[in-house]
Amino acid sequence: MTEFLKVEGITAGYGDGPAILDGAHMTVQQGKVHCIIGPNGAGKSTLLKVIAGMLPARKGEVIFKGENLKGLRPDQTLRRGIAFVPQERALFPKMTVRENLRMGGYILNDDVERDRRIDEIFDRFPILRERADQHAGTMSGGQQQTLAMARTLILRPEIVMFDEPSLGLAPKIVREMFAIVRMIAEQGVTVLLVEQNAVMGLKHADWGVVLDLGRTLFEGSAQEVLHDPRIQELYLGGRKVA
């Protein structure tokens, strides 16, 4: 059986710069929530960018359902079913919520089908229907993040990757974000999640991947990773995280 998504021995960097990733790998199981944790600058965002095709890998490979994604652009990985919400959320602030969702379905060639799917999204996220004609940039951080995550679903992706969806959100809103992540996973979509807050992330995940200095330190079930003593060490030499 071919693995769903295989990420192996990834070395990557920006331009001619140093290798930011050097030997990163992770196991991905279909339909599960995977949380990538690690200190600032570990290369978590960089790893997602490599998978999305925004940054070419210098070495190593990303294989999705038996196909090597090497050399594919972001729109090509998108067409294959991998959607990505970068750390900056990538919304169009002066377009309305509905227009942002339409942009999410930009590569669909059927406008009727696209608008039908947007209606489904509105059913699942009533707040977005309420705000449909409001500019995205005028919504709260949590609503913007909801929009960014919901927008990926228009293309009915197989994998969604969220880079720090909780960034800058109040604790109550963060819990809502994780509820959305779980809901997406329950529909059978595979989730790759980067989280600054390791405990919070791992508690909502099935699988944990620990990245440090561009390489994968270890990975395992979220429970294992959460209770692994190496985690304590990684985060400021013994600061309590669990």
Partner: protein, 292 residues
């Protein structure tokens, strides 16, 4: 009172044409971050297209307008391919385009001068020198038609940006280039298309200008400052802002021309540019402009 209405009408007439001149410039800046100093020289090229159509074959400049639009759009594609496409990833792109477009402006001026000489010209369909009268107030037909057609074209442009698939892609690219690329927009194609549309609008503006103002190849220097003041005031890259600034400033300029002296009329634009840069460099209408 009549005098005031009269001057306002003349100002509105000019405002429409300036609005069209400025929207192409705004579009190109909004999407591509190109400060296109060659825009007015391309307007002159459009004016020559309409002029020769009328001179040689007697074709009405309003009929030549689509021809000038398509011709200039094609020139836009060529310019984009030759000068801008390769450099789009450079970090100093926006600064570099200032020098590059300055050079292009000089080349176009030189080429037009060599072909057609630097004499003053104006396209002269019958309506260009005719006017409607309402009481004692006269509305020059040429300016009226040019202003109306300008507004029609700007309206079509706005509808295109608002509702068409390419329009969505253009707006999205303007607001967040990386995000647009991530969603499958071919941002390079969007750049090319908006550049072509922007230059096509210069062609359209040129055809209308050709019977409103007299023109010659070096005339574009005068317009650069006028157009820059409109675009900066409108908030660099906002078409709506540019249109509002065009009407506002043109009306003010008309009053200055009527009551202070016609040589001061153009100064209005420069003074406005100066004041805006000094006190509100982000433009009159807000921090982050959008096309619409």
């Amino acid at each position: 009172m009549e005098q005031i209405i009269q001057v306002t009408i003349l100002g509105i007439g000019l405002g429409g044409v300036f609005a069209l001149m400025g929207s192409g410039l705004s579009l190109v800046f909004g999407v591509m971050r190109i400060v296109n100093l060659a825009h007015p020289s391309l307007i002159i090229a459009g004016a020559f297209t309409a002029y020769w159509g009328f001179r040689l074959w007697g074709i009405d400049p309003l009929v030549m307008l689509p021809v000038a639009t398509v011709l200039l759009a094609a020139i836009g594609v060529l310019l984009y391919k030759v000068f801008f496409e390769r450099n789009a990833k450079s970090a100093t792109y926006s600064e570099m385009t200032v020098l590059l477009t300055f050079a292009i402006a000089m080349i176009i001026e030189g080429a037009l001068g060599a072909m057609f000489s630097n004499t003053q010209r104006v396209t002269s369909p019958s309506y260009a020198t005719d006017a409607f009268f309402i009481g004692n107030v006269f509305i020059p037909k040429g300016q009226l038609y040019a202003g109306l057609v300008s507004m029609l074209i700007i309206g079509l442009l706005a509808a295109f940006l608002k509702y068409s698939r390419l329009g969505y892609a253009i707006r999205a690219t303007t607001q967040n280039r990386d995000a647009a690329a991530l969603l499958g927009v071919n941002v390079n194609m969007v750049g090319l298309m908006s550049f072509a549309i922007g230059i096509g609008l210069a062609g359209a503006a040129g055809a209308l200008t050709s019977f409103v103002f007299s023109f010659f190849p070096a005339k574009h220097w005068e317009w650069i400052a006028v157009l820059m003041s409109l675009v900066v005031m409108g908030g660099m890259g906002s078409i709506v802002g540019t249109v509002i600034a065009s009407f506002g400033l043109s009306i003010i300029a008309a009053f200055v021309g009527a009551y202070v002296g016609s040589t001061w009329s153009t100064m209005t634009f420069f003074l406005a540019l100066f004041l805006v840069l000094l006190f509100r460099p982000q433009g009159l209408f807000g921090e982050k402009p959008e096309l619409l």
